[in-house]
C-alpha cells in the first residue's frame, strides 16, 4: 500500500516505541544466541486497509444499517489506534478490533435501546429464506431475523457463526461464561430457525 509522506510521519510518531529490527537482538545477549527476528508487525494504515471491510460487514450484521455500521467501524478503529502499540505486537490484532467493535456496538445499543424498540414495533415480520431468491431480498430477510434477536445474543451468534470463534473465545470476548454463550446461542438459533426456516445446517434440528 502506498502512503503519503504525511501518513508516514504519523506512523513514525505512533510507532516510536517499537522500530523494525528491535527484535533482532536482545539486550544483554550476544547476537548469536538472540532469538530470530519476528515478522515485522503491521502498521496501522495497512492493517486498517486490510481489515476495515471485514469489520464493516460484521458491524453491518450487528446493527443492520450501513451508516451505523460505518460509524461503528470508525469508532472501532479509533479505539484500536489508541491502543495500537499494544495491539500491533499482539499475536492476533483482530481480537483487539473485534472486542472494540463489540463494545462499541453494545454501548451504542444501550443508548439507542428505546428508539430501536420503537422501530421494531413498526417493522413487519421477516420473511423466510425460501422465498428470498434475490440476494437483496435475502439480505433483508437475514438482517430482519438478526434484528429480532436481543443485542447480546445477536452478538454471540455473529461471533460464533460469522467470525468462527469458539465458545470459549466468544465468552472471553464478551466477558461471560461459556455456558451462557452456549445457552444463548441455542435459543438464538431456535429463534432464527423459526424466522428463516430450517434450510441451513446450523438451523436444522440435530
Amino acid at each position: 500500500m502506498t502512503r503519503s509522506p504525511r501518513q508516514s510521519s504519523d506512523i513514525d510518531e505512533t510507532d516510536r516505541s517499537h522500530r523494525p529490527g528491535e527484535h533482532a537482538t536482545t539486550a544483554g545477549l550476544p547476537a548469536a544466541v538472540a532469538e530470530p527476528p519476528d515478522p515485522e508487525p503491521p502498521d496501522f494504515e495497512s492493517y486498517a486497509a486490510a481489515r476495515q471491510h471485514h469489520l464493516y460487514r460484521t458491524a453491518y450484521l450487528l446493527c443492520g444499517d450501513r451508516d451505523r455500521a460505518q460509524d461503528l467501524v470508525q469508532t472501532t478503529l479509533v479505539a484500536l489506534l489508541r491502543s495500537w502499540r499494544k495491539a500491533r505486537l499482539a499475536e492476533n490484532p483482530d481480537a483487539y478490533a473485534k472486542k472494540a467493535l463489540v463494545r462499541a456496538f453494545l454501548t451504542e445499543q444501550r443508548k439507542l435501546r428505546r428508539s430501536v424498540t420503537a422501530h421494531a414495533i413498526l417493522r413487519t415480520e421477516p420473511g423466510t429464506t425460501a422465498a428470498a431468491a434475490d440476494p437483496a431480498e435475502l439480505r433483508l430477510v437475514v438482517l430482519d431475523a438478526l434484528r429480532a434477536l436481543p443485542a447480546k445474543p445477536r452478538t454471540m451468534v455473529i461471533l460464533r457463526y460469522w467470525e468462527d470463534l469458539s465458545v470459549e473465545e466468544t465468552a472471553a470476548l464478551l466477558g461471560c461464561s461459556a455456558g451462557n454463550v452456549k445457552s444463548q446461542c441455542s435459543r438464538s438459533l431456535a429463534k432464527l430457525r423459526e424466522l428463516l426456516g430450517d434450510r441451513f445446517t446450523e438451523l436444522s434440528e440435530p
Binding site: Q7, L81, E202
Partner: protein
Amino acid sequence: MPNLHELFDAATDGLPPLPDLAPGIRRIVRRRKIATRSAGAALSSALVIGAGTILVGGIHASTPSGNGFGTGSSSSNTSRPIPLAKTFHEEAVSALQQIWPIAGEHVNYVGKPDQTVYAAVTPTASYRVVLAFYRLPANDPQNQPHMACATDTGPQSGFACSDLPDGHTVAARVGQGTAQFDFTTGGVYSTLTVIGGPMAHIDARKLLTMAKSPIFQQLSADTHRYFGVITPMPGADFGSAAPSTTPSGGLNPPDGIINKLSLSSALAFPPPDTATPTPAGTGAAYSDSPGASVTPPRGSDSAQPPATP
C-alpha cells in the same frame, strides 16, 4: 445446504467498499489528544486557582483563637505574619481594655503590623502602651521562680513587688513619665510600659493588679504562638550568651536577654493619631514625635516610696 456463515456472507456480500478510513482516524485521535490535554491543563489551572483561593481565604478567615485554617506551625513567616499579628493585636487590645486601671480610657492599637504598640486614649490625654515579650532559654536565671525583687538603679517614684501563682516575681515601677511592670513566667519575659508624662492615675499597685490578672497572664502565655510575628520577641533565637548592646536606659530587659529590636525603638514609635492637641502651657511633647501630647498629672497620689527587696 449452506451454513450460517455462508448465509451471513451472502447477506453482506453486496456492501460497497469503504473509503480508506485510516487518515481520518489519525486526525480524530490527534484532535482528541489535543482536546484531552487542553482539558487537563484547564482542570489543573482550575485546581491550582481553587486551592490558592481556599488557602488565602482560609488564612483571612483565621479565628482569633488561632485555630483557623492556615495557622499551623510553619517556619515560614513570609505569607502569614500580618494576619497572625493582627490576631494578636486584637487579643491584646481586648485584654488591655479589660484590665486597664483607668476608667473611661480607650485602648487602641497604633503600631505597625509587627509592633506591639498601643495607646490608651481619653478625650484629653493619651498614653503610649508598649508590650514586649522575650523568649528566654530554659536555663536562664530570670526563668526561675522566687527571684529577688529589686528596684532598678534609676529614681523611682513608686515601686511594688509581688509573686505570681507559679512563684515568679512580678515588679512594677512608676517613674518620671513612665510606668512599667515586668515578670517572667513560662519561659517568656513579659513587660508592659506606659509612657505619657507623669503618671497621674497609674501607680505601682494598679500595675501589679494588671500584671497578675488572669487576662494578662493568658495573653503572656499565648505569645508563644506569635513568636517571630510580633516584635520584640526575639529572645534566645538571637544568642542568649551575648550581652545586649542596645542601651535603653532604665527600661532595659534583664541581663542575659538579647533583643534585636531594642525596647527603646518601640517606645519611640509615633504616637496615635487619636491624641488630642496639647493644651497651652501644659504637658510636654516628645522630641521624636511632635504630634503627641500628654495631659499633665492631676495629683501625685501614686507616689510611693521605693520598695526594697
